[in-house]
Subunit: 210 residues, 2 copies
């Protein structure tokens, strides 16, 4: 497994944390958009908390800056309405989701990854559930008819735990400072507002390569 290798041009890397509200907007849209363009998604769950701490922030800027924080939820309401996505402002924000992220990393190449990630995001941002709790992760997996206990045990292996720490370090190394972040090759795109641009770029690159 070499996560630093460049993916092929016709792939988009999607770096996300389940606690990130703008990652939620991208999560609910990316698989349909990428499929329509025949673009492969490389799923890159990572821990946003250590990235913020590395940058000198003890919490999300949406918590530390009250003016921006107040605005963000107005913006989320409007954006969710625009995309037709449900929203209940989470009673805890940002929610830590360590186990859920470990499961996402373990399942990153599985056919169920998209459905699982959307389910966790919906539990957090539409249903206001505690996605940090093992039983909620288990419920999410179960709702997709997946063997929850087996997956959770494997996701909690030392190797997978280490892998998530390494992926988070890779995020810092690549200059990531927020989520969602997209990479197409070395080209970085930050924020849900750049998802379409990143996919456009991906298509343009693959046309150039033909």
């Amino acid at each position: 497994m070499n996560d630093d290798a460049l993916p092929p041009a016709r792939a988009i890397e999607f770096w996300f944390d389940f606690g990130s509200n703008y990652s939620y907007l991208s999560m609910m849209r990316i698989e349909a958009l990428a499929t329509a363009r025949n673009v492969r998604i490389v799923w890159r769950p990572f821990l946003l908390g250590p990235v913020f701490r590395q940058l000198g922030f003890e919490n999300s800027p949406f918590v530390l800056q009250k003016e921006k924080g107040a605005y963000v939820w107005k913006d989320m309401e409007r954006q969710c309405r625009k995309y037709g996505v449900a929203l209940t402002r989470p009673s805890t924000f940002p929610r830590a989701a360590l186990l859920a992220l470990r499961v996402a990393l373990y399942g990153a190449n599985e056919p169920w990854i998209g459905a699982y990630c959307r389910k966790i995001m919906q539990l957090n941002f539409a249903d206001d559930r505690e996605i940090g709790l093992p039983e909620v992760v288990s419920e999410a997996l179960g709702s997709l008819d997946l063997p929850a206990q087996h997956i959770i045990e494997t996701a909690q292996s030392d190797a997978n735990k280490l892998h998530l720490r390494e992926q988070t370090e890779a995020a810092i190394r690549r200059g990531i400072f927020g989520a969602p972040t997209f990479f197409v090759g070395d080209e970085m795109f930050w924020g849900n507002d750049r998802l379409d641009d990143a996919l456009d770029y991906c298509e343009a690159m693959s046309r150039r390569d033909r």
Copy 2:
């Protein structure tokens, strides 16, 4: 003059500073977009520096956070290409533009305001000129066949200087934390990425009022 009065629904308030790179993107687009939709622009130049200091930042986040700063100029290159707008990364960033902003405030209701503001922005972000210098402001006004000396003298009056300080205080009072910011009535939209949404909202409101 009561700047806190709500503008009519069919108007968009455009809060900007000439030093702000994302304000540049909106500046080059807003008049054509608003005209096409029959929306009136309320021009609101203000000083972004005191707003940042009020929030506890000694400079632009694009200067204080080096990862974000590096990204922003990549993003600007791509966005300028998308909109067909020229870009030379300014050798000084962010540029203070006190006199240029005072002139914009003095001329906010004049027919030349849009052309003047675009000219100053282009001098900063396309030509890398020192827009803080009186001779550059004078050159911008002269290029539009305006009486530069008279306008600059009036813009430097105590009343107009006070007006700019008051407008900046009004920005803080209204919860502005960056530029560009748009208001449609009390609804706030932050960033060039929300200009189209703000105009859509403006149209929807005016349809509702009919």
